[in-house]
């Protein structure tokens, strides 16, 4: 039996579809992702906390869900919006269907949506608050609920995705890396391990002094959900680490670095969420096709140009995609060099981080 579900945007645009996964009601910011593959990685990316994610590719669930392609311990997004859920899973690695995976994890799914129309709407009107419900189907009531919900701005979502305590991801490796977990994707850790790093994951709430006590060769500030400006404690931690240890920021990590260096961040109209964004390395001229997932960005003009320089730009809209400190061993990128999902073109940045740590020894 088909269960009806509705997606209501805060400006009153409404879509009706069929429910899959869990039943219930969730609010969040509606965003679209343009990756054609990798829904499992997207679902388990903690950066999507607080968001309702619509896939522009219409056929989802085809290869099911497997045990390897997870980016965190569980899905964090609020709801998942698609055109058509596959009636079968076809892959030698699949262990279950997408529907049952979402159901087990309490995540709402809605299918039968004109996700292209939704995407166009978000492109034109900007990412906005939305609600998905299988319980309330009255448009007016849904609209009231979505209007009353809290948006992303000013909300610390990092706290909601991190685990307390220090954890040792692996026990061997030449470089001792502390990963400041703001909602880290596992593939960042896997990429570090591939490059002889001994990885310690610490919560974003840890103080700088405690981090330095771990005597890291380098600190990686991870990706994570929500508004960077709301994560005040982390900004001050990073400020205190500046110049004391090589640092590499990814996504939210870049935004936090920007804020820690005295800059500002702002919310983008609808952000970048996909796996096909061309990013140019301004130093080498090399173009990488990158995986991206961010709704906020650093205002480069808010940073002192004698201290910080832009290293990468997005060729689609010329927004800054990477920066480095001119004097300190600190650099960051707004996109995801760990990919997953997405192309591996930008993996070289982990190498750059290693070189930076290597320089410490030299």
């Amino acid at each position: 039996m088909i269960n009806k579900a509705k997606l209501m945007l805060e400006d009153g645009m409404v879509f009706e579809g069929a429910s899959f996964g869990a039943q219930g009601e969730r609010c969040g910011e509606a965003v679209f992702n343009t990756s054609m593959t990798g829904y499992q990685e997207i679902i388990t990316d903690p950066s999507y906390k607080g968001q309702i994610v619509a896939m522009t590719y219409p056929l989802i669930g085809n290869y099911g869900v497997n045990t390897e392609d997870v980016e965190s311990r569980k899905p964090f997004l609020e709801a998942f919006v698609i055109k058509e859920l596959s009636g079968i899973t076809s892959s030698w690695r699949s262990v279950k269907s997408l529907g049952s995976y979402l159901g087990e994890n309490g995540i709402l799914g809605i299918e039968g949506i004109d996700t292209r129309s939704l995407t166009k709407h978000i492109r034109l009107s900007g990412a906005m608050k939305a609600i998905v419900s299988t319980e309330e189907l009255d448009d007016k009531k849904l609209l009231d609920k979505v209007k009353a919900s809290s948006g992303l701005l000013g909300r610390d979502l990092v706290k909601e995705v991190i685990e307390p305590g220090i954890s040792q991801w692996n026990n061997q490796g030449k470089y001792k890396v502390v990963v400041l977990d703001c909602g880290v994707k596992f593939n960042i850790l896997r990429e570090l391990v591939k490059r002889s790093c001994r990885v310690t994951v610490v919560p974003a709430t840890m103080l700088a002094a405690d981090i330095l006590k771990l005597k890291p060769d380098g600190v990686l500030i991870s990706n994570g959900p929500g508004d960077p400006a709301a994560v005040k404690y982390l900004i001050s931690t990073v400020k205190n680490l500046l110049g004391k240890v090589p640092m590499f920021g990814i996504c939210l990590g870049q935004q936090i670095l920007g804020l820690a260096m005295g800059g500002e961040t702002h919310k983008l109209k609808f952000g970048h969420h996909g796996a096909n964004h061309p990013v140019k390395n301004l130093k080498t001229g090399v173009i990488s096709i990158t995986s991206q997932n961010h709704g906020f960005s650093v205002r480069m003009d808010s940073l002192k140009s004698d201290e910080v320089e832009v290293t990468h730009i997005n060729l689609n809209d010329n927004t800054p995609e990477g920066m480095r400190h001119k004097k300190l061993p600190v650099f960051s990128v707004q996109f995801h060099p760990e990919a997953s999902p997405g192309p591996h073109d930008a993996g070289y940045l982990f190498g750059q981080f290693i070189s930076m740590m290597e320089a410490k020894y030299a």
Partner: protein, 1046 residues
């Protein structure tokens, strides 16, 4: 500068390149062009395998070095590395990629060694051939020996690759682009519905890949990037094929094409990213980030398109034209065209594709009743890949076979089969909605769901036992509207500016309709004209019609109209997003066209340019109130309807061969007796001379009547007196209703009885008297006037004993329009489009017929080498898949060039084998004499030889094969014979000559099967022996013509 021998292409239009050489693409000819033009660079990667092979030979001959021409895109080394199996294997191993186990062999001994080490089943592929000709899968030792031997023969370098069979694995393709700064992007991934073992050209393919996780897709992407770098394709596009074992995910590299390919064209249409256009820019030094994405304008081309729909390509086959060829698909390509469909889901795209194929299906329908199909036949049809397998999968599901069983047999991914199951489930629900039976009617939510699953109105109508129009009415009345979405390369992330649409049933429609006041109070208006395209390529309807559609669009744009193109063929220029103001990539069915008409409400719709496809829709469209412009539907009907046409001809006092139409065997016999044998017979309402035959006696007539019933039941069989030895003429003319001007009169080289599409022809005619030409003109004017033609008209005449007979009239663009336009420089299709929009010939400045000072020969290109076992004899049923053009000052050289371009090398020395039927024996004497005088040695069969010897021609006689004398076969095998002239008689001699002809095809030895062809060939040989061939760009010919006709 452009070299291409194909006149039917847009690229050989004189305006496209600065100098256009319509000359054979052979190393010798291209060398002459290089010598003359002294280009800086040669771009070999856009002209398919022909371009690549020719470029390679030019390098090997030292031509490029001599004239200091740089090869751009891919250089010699890169091409060699990708094409040479051994080098490719080494390269892949070097970068750590997995390949199927394999070995190379240049002899049968080596081949057998490989068989020992790898084991059966094996795949055999000859190196350096077009479209994988001559390869195969061997499951037994005997098959292995056969295929290996043939492969060694077919390879240009007598080499075959013997490979571990990965038949049944999942097959993928990636389209990759690289620029000079080493930026690499993947444009599109393609997953084949049909697994490994079926040529990708013959597979149903789907974009993007459906069943790969991101991890596996990225692994494949990484591999593709490593491959293009390692092979060293400097700039441009490449196509890389992979296979994946569905059991464990093992991925192996299959092959790489260091050039744009058929798949690139498909990927371009599927994504909106114009691969070939950008490849050319990259070749001259642009980088991807320097090129703008045409569609979004704002963003650069250095990205990877992402799509938000599903694309399905379905190949079109023509097995019915080659009864000797088996409808079994394998690793050598047999399809002749393809259709592409776009939908929001695979189900929708698949069903749209199946109706766009134009083979009588209205979707994944029930043309056959599954209950009537015996289990063993069904099983066989699943096991052996064939043109209709997709339907047999459906029948198997209907008969209760499980998804797993079907997947086990076919190796098709269960994901695809599940989608077919879902279509069937909905079909079952629909068929319950037969109101008069079950009291249930079709409710609107069910109807909407059916439309979203891609069901056509016709399909739904059949299921609920209603008529198609009532479904359409219901759809409209309950507000189920067709919505159009854009193909925009970016899944709506950025604004798109090019209106490239596909239909679906969603919540939002994206068409931008420019509203202008309608003219004359009509419901249609907006100063826009819609052009209906030609659908998938097939024998009888190829890119000639695409050429005409493009020209119509160009011409109407010149007049200020908004042009709207509708077509479903990804291999065309008309489906480029920048050819027309708007492009609807849609099947050409009544329903799909009407939905667009409803949306756009054009002022006029053109049905004349897309061949039979739109013409077949004309009447229904007109009845639905669509404003068809150009020659009226009544006139079209007058020309097509046998009886009405006879009246026209009678009125105009033009002769027609005696004829009649018969519904029964008895009728047919009576008519044949009245008009006398031989008779030309054909079923009515079929295309390209389908099942057309020349019948010499009553016995054959009986057999034919039986077959005709199968081809076109209930429709009458047309019987004409066959004009033996008549000369056939094709005329293309243009008329504005009052003035008619002839574009070109073409004289066929081969006699009447060979389909005009297969016959070579010459423009201007070279053996007709002025009186006959005057008569042809007079008739053409009269018929055009009588039919009130507005646009193009094609008339076929036959001349026998100085009487001009009319054979056929087609008041539409014909296959020869591009050829005539290239020959004369008159853009006939453009003029015709302008006439349809209301202009007169006088206004357009074309009122006088053009006189040429050069000679053009059109020759057909035949697909025989693809169909092993098919005899190469020409007849009334068309078999060619394309054409080439030879152009020069004299007939001889022009003919020679046309043969060269069609891959029929005419020799200037060596041994010629002659064997002709009795009727031709008198004519062959003179031909043989001339050949003998030119220094050729003649070998002949007994009968022919005797005639030649008695006319004092030195001849060596060989015995009959069936009597045990295999000498002639040995000579051909060894390559000692340089030309074969063999005119087959109806029955006798058949068994002896067939092996000779098929061996000739195999060895690539020219084989002429008509006496007229032989005469022309002798002319050609004589001309080129007298003086060296020269080359000249088409622009020079055209300006000479213009000067002469000033």
């Amino acid at each position: 500068m452009l070299v291409n021998s194909n006149p039917a292409t847009i690229m050989t239009d004189p305006e496209i390149a600065d100098a256009t050489y319509i000359e054979p693409i052979t190393p010798e000819i291209v060398e002459k062009i290089i010598e003359k033009e002294r280009p800086d660079a040669l771009l070999p990667t856009l002209g398919g395998q022909t371009g690549l092979n020719t470029a390679m030979k030019l390098v090997e001959k030292g031509v490029l070095d001599k004239y200091q021409v740089k090869m751009i895109g891919a250089d010699y080394k890169a091409i060699k590395k990708s094409e040479n199996r051994e080098e490719f294997k080494k390269a892949m191993q070097k970068i750590g990629l997995d390949l199927p186990k394999s070995a190379l062999a240049r002899s049968m001994e080596k081949a057998k060694e490989a068989l020992e080490t790898i084991g059966l089943p094996l795949i055999i592929r000859p190196s350096f051939t077009l479209g994988g000709t001559g390869g195969g899968i061997a499951a037994t030792e005997k098959e292995f020996e056969q295929i290996a031997a043939m492969g060694i023969q077919n390879s240009m370098i007598n080499e075959i690759l013997i490979e571990e069979s990965i038949v049944g694995w999942k097959e993928y393709e990636l389209e990759v682009m690289r620029d000079s700064k080493d930026n690499v992007v993947i444009i599109c991934s393609i997953e084949n519905f049909d697994p490994m073992g079926i040529h990708t050209g013959d597979s149903i393919t789907v974009a993007p890949a459906q069943t790969l996780t991101d991890k596996e897709y990225q692994e494949m992407r990484d591999a593709a990037i490593r491959i293009i770098r390692e092979i060293g394709v400097e700039t441009g596009g490449s196509n890389i094929q992979f296979a994946v074992n569905p059991k464990d995910g093992r991925m192996v590299v299959i092959e790489m094409n260091p050039r744009v390919s058929r798949s690139s064209a498909l990927a371009s249409k599927a994504t909106g990213f114009p691969i070939a256009k950008f490849a050319a820019k990259l070749a001259v030094g642009y980088t991807l980030d320097e090129i703008r994405n045409d569609i979004t304008k704002e963003t650069p081309a250095s990205f990877e398109p992402t799509i938000d729909y599903c694309v399905v390509k379905i190949p079109r086959f023509t097995f019915e034209k080659f009864p000797e060829a088996e409808d079994i698909l394998g690793i050598s390509m047999k399809s002749v065209g393809e259709t592409m469909a776009i939908g929001r889901t695979f189900k929708e795209a698949l069903q749209k594709g199946l109706r766009g194929l134009e083979v009588g299906h209205s979707g994944l329908d029930n043309k056959k009743d599954y209950k009537q199909i015996p289990d063993d036949k069904l099983l066989n049809k699943l096991k052996e890949p064939n043109a209709s397998r997709i339907f047999y999968i459906k029948y198997a599901i209907q008969k209760g076979m499980t998804r797993q069983e079907i997947s086990d047999i076919t190796k098709i991914d269960p994901w695809f089969i599940k989608n077919i199951e879902e279509i069937i489930s909905l079909e079952n629900i629909l068929s319950l909605a037969v109101s008069h039976k079950n009291g249930r009617s079709l409710d609107s939510s069910l109807l909407l769901k059916a439309k979203q699953y891609g069901f056509s109105d016709k399909q739904i109508a059949d299921l609920v036992e209603r008529d198609e129009l009532s479904i359409r009415e219901q759809r409209k009345s309950c507000g189920i509207k067709t919505t159009y979405k854009m193909v925009d390369t970016c899944a709506a992330e950025f604004e798109a500016y090019t209106p490239y649409y596909y239909s679906t049933y969603e919540s939002e429609d994206e068409t931008r309709i420019i509203k202008k006041s309608a003219r004359g109070g009509s419901a249609y208006g907006g100063n826009k004209i819609m052009i209906l395209g030609d659908g998938p390529n097939r024998i009888g309807q190829g890119i000639e019609f695409d050429y005409c559609c493009c020209h119509a669009s160009f011409a109407l744009k010149e007049l200020g109209y908004e042009t709207i193109m509708v077509n479903s063929n990804p291999e065309t220029v008309s489906t480029d997003y920048d050819t027309s103001d708007k492009l609807y990539f849609e099947p050409l069915t009544f329903e799909d066209v009407m939905n667009i008409v409803d949306k756009e409400k054009p002022q006029g719709v053109i049905v004349q340019f897309g061949g039979q496809t739109p013409l077949n829709l004309a009447k229904r469209l007109k009845d639905a109130g669509v404003p068809i412009i150009g020659t009226s539907v009544e006139s079209i009907d007058k020309a097509e309807d046998r009886e009405k046409f006879a009246k026209v001809i009678k009125k105009l006092r033009i002769s027609q061969p005696p004829n009649g139409s018969a519904l029964s065997k008895e009728d047919a016999k009576k008519i044949a007796k009245r008009i006398g044998y031989p008779v030309l017979v054909r079923p009515s309402y079929v295309l390209g001379g389908r099942a057309m035959r020349i019948i010499y006696n009553e016995e054959s007539l009986n057999a034919f009547m039986k077959e005709a019933k199968e081809v076109s039941a209930e429709k009458p069989v047309l019987i004409d007196k066959f004009l033996d030895d008549a000369c056939e003429i094709d005329v293309d003319a243009i008329s504005d209703g009052s003035v008619t001007v002839i574009g070109g009169i073409m004289e066929h080289i081969e006699e009447a009885g060979i389909h005009s599409g297969d016959s070579a022809c010459v423009l201007p005619p070279h053996t007709l008297s002025d009186e006959i030409i005057a008569m042809i003109k007079k008739y053409t004017y009269a018929i055009s006037k009588e039919l009130k033609v507005k646009g193009l008209i094609n008339i076929q005449f036959a001349i026998k004993n100085d009487i001009v007979y009319i054979l056929e009239v087609n008041p539409r663009a014909s296959r020869t329009v591009p050829f005539v336009s290239k020959a004369t420089g008159v853009p006939l299709a453009k003029l015709a489009a302008k006439i349809m929009a209301g202009k007169t010939l006088k206004e357009l400045g074309f009122t006088r017929e053009i006189e040429l000072s050069h000679v053009c020969v059109k020759e057909s290109v035949l697909p025989f080498s693809r169909f092993s076992g098919v005899d190469i004899i020409l007849g009334p049923e068309m078999k060619s898949t394309g054409e080439v053009m030879g152009i020069d000052q004299s007939f001889g050289v022009a003919f020679y060039k046309s043969q060269l371009a069609a891959n029929q090398m005419l020799p200037v020395k060596g041994k010629i084998f002659i064997s002709v039927k009795n009727d031709d024996k008198r004519d062959i004497v003179f031909i043989a004499k001339r050949l003998c005088d030119m220094g050729f040695e003649i070998i002949a069969t007994k009968g022919t030889g005797k005639v030649l010897a008695s006319n004092d021609i030195k001849v060596q006689i060989v015995g009959k094969i069936k009597e045990g004398d295999k000498k002639i076969l040995d000579l051909i095998s060894k390559g000692d014979i340089t030309l074969i002239i063999n005119t087959p008689s109806g029955t006798i001699g058949h068994s002896d000559m067939k092996p000779i002809r098929s061996l000739a095809v195999n060895k690539g030895i020219s084989c002429i099967t008509t006496i007229q062809g032989a005469q022309a060939a002798v002319n050609g040989i004589e001309s080129v022996m007298k003086s060296e061939i020269s080359v000249r760009p088409i622009q020079e010919y055209i300006s000479a013509v213009a000067a002469k006709n000033r």
